[in-house]
Subunit: 346 residues, 2 copies
Amino acid sequence: MTESEQAPRGRATAEMVAARAKVSRVAVSRAFNPHTSLKPEKRELILKVAQELNYTPDRAARALVSGRSHLVGVIVPDVCSHWESQEIDALTTALQAEGFATLLFKTRTDYSMDEQLLAYMRGFNPDSVIAFVENVKPHTLARFLDRAVPIYIHYPQAELADDAGDEPLHDRLNVLQRDGVEQAVALLQGFGAKRIAYLSGAEKSRANGARERMLRQVMAERGLAPPVVAGGDFSYDAAYQATIDLFRVGEGADAIFAANDVGAFGVIDALRHELKLRVPEDVKVIGFDDIAQSHWKSYNLTTVKFDLDERVRALVRLILRRLTTPDAPGFQETLNTRLVVRGTVG
Amino acid sequence: MTESEQAPRGRATAEMVAARAKVSRVAVSRAFNPHTSLKPEKRELILKVAQELNYTPDRAARALVSGRSHLVGVIVPDVCSHWESQEIDALTTALQAEGFATLLFKTRTDYSMDEQLLAYMRGFNPDSVIAFVENVKPHTLARFLDRAVPIYIHYPQAELADDAGDEPLHDRLNVLQRDGVEQAVALLQGFGAKRIAYLSGAEKSRANGARERMLRQVMAERGLAPPVVAGGDFSYDAAYQATIDLFRVGEGADAIFAANDVGAFGVIDALRHELKLRVPEDVKVIGFDDIAQSHWKSYNLTTVKFDLDERVRALVRLILRRLTTPDAPGFQETLNTRLVVRGTVG
DNA sequence: TCATAGAATGAACACGTTTTCAATTCTCGT
DNA sequence: ACGAGAATTGAAAACGTGTTCATTCTATGA
């Protein structure tokens, strides 16, 4: 009966394609799923008809029965923060290539836990969740997201070469910061820096905590006095003000290690434009991330680099492996850092 | 039978909540939908039990029957481009408050049409689509997205005060650039600029075309010679190189109007660090967007501003109105621009 | 007390797909 | 030509929800 009323309104459905191609509705479903048995010429015909009718399987219906939404939730406190936006960009590209889509959610900028958001997000049924919400224990996340598998971004305390933390309970990405920080401190020490300050990121961020901890450790090993800490929150403006305070109220420094590149930009601008100090002659500056802006001539920042592509590839690997083998024990990937030398130390 | 096997694995379902609260499954559905008739104390009980079981209605199932996915597709060529990332950030926040989620897709950076992506996106059933893909006619978009309603970002040719383009066929956001450009050219002219160059954005971008067109028009009206055009693509690096070419190969300029702020940063850095020219003394620079970075001290850019919050509010209004009244004729919102004066003209 | 309207309730259906399972057809070696 | 195993096929069940509709309950007024 639906033969004549060739509905031009609304989506085409598998039933319509089946009717037009004179096959069963099930055959249409199979045509769109590889690894199912269907005579090749039949599949070809169906796909042709589908294209004519502008048909694509409805992912909501598909998700309902298969339990796979092909959505990956990404929680970010601040999309326009440079590192985050670059990671979202690369991640979206990679996920798209694998047939997934990025579902974006914003949480509080202070990096605190946001239960309400997790419950909200759960309703959308993501297959996996990458939590930039940093101070959340993975099992808390798992409790809130029952079906979706969270990926935990882990900063090992002791960064031994083979620090697997053996048998992690959850999938995680280990970020090792020692190499980059060691190279950075060595460079500063080589240029005679004595009083090194740390310009922190958001207090509750685990990344920030790990960076400060590693800096202290490396400086102690090299016989340097502990760093003075100036309180930032990963933003340009906070870094700008904190730097001014460090020199006007505090005792200053001859080198500043910032928790992220954007913060380093604030430090540099405060030094040059407000305090009339020269970078790197009077004060040396090192950042963290190596975002795209760091090579811009006005900053030309020496910084500790994550390889973004490598990081994204690792995340995608974790997601795919978990979906392929849902009951496997925790997977983990490890990411290293290294120093990129530019013009703010010298 | 499912009473005893209190499945701790997988999502809680409405059936489980109903069983535990000794009510029917329909009552659970009603408890989560306002405007349905249900005894208050019963609703309260159900919501309490639901919270205990960590239950949220499955949006895939809900979408299947109601035809509303509560997903808004956003197509971007480049997430980490500053303007885009700030818009995505604000939009996600606003949509989240209205019960929607942002579905992110990346397309080609040259702003060309991407049919494959549209078909891919359609599978996810977005309720609405905001197309940053700029050279796509709205009816083409509509054909590919049957159910989702696209929002067209429109740059009216003649920017009369009431240029509604009366009765648009599709929902659209009109962006008026005349006011900002007029103020910018007036400022440049006031400082005696004679040879104004335009550093373009991506060739296929409609925003870029509209900006160049408006600049030509305003300059002609004020008796200025047409601008020299330097070819960029909205990126820092392209702007940097194009500026060098403009002075080394071409005839230079005493003022440069960039198609976007990031491009203006490239212009400024090329002028200062490569060409050893002073900004604003030797060459004046104006940008477009007023992104957060524009007030950073190293650039301190004079620029034509969109009000981002206003823009996002307008977009959300368009989305909500269309979903409330699906068969209404095309809605439209209008957005104006104005100049923000900082330190790169003077 | 009774009639009546309105609120509250639950059974059944619908949404568009994948998956299961049994039935049918095909392929190939003897 | 025949049988066995593999490939192909379609009917029916399932996924978790919102909606319709007929029924039951409650409160109000005469």
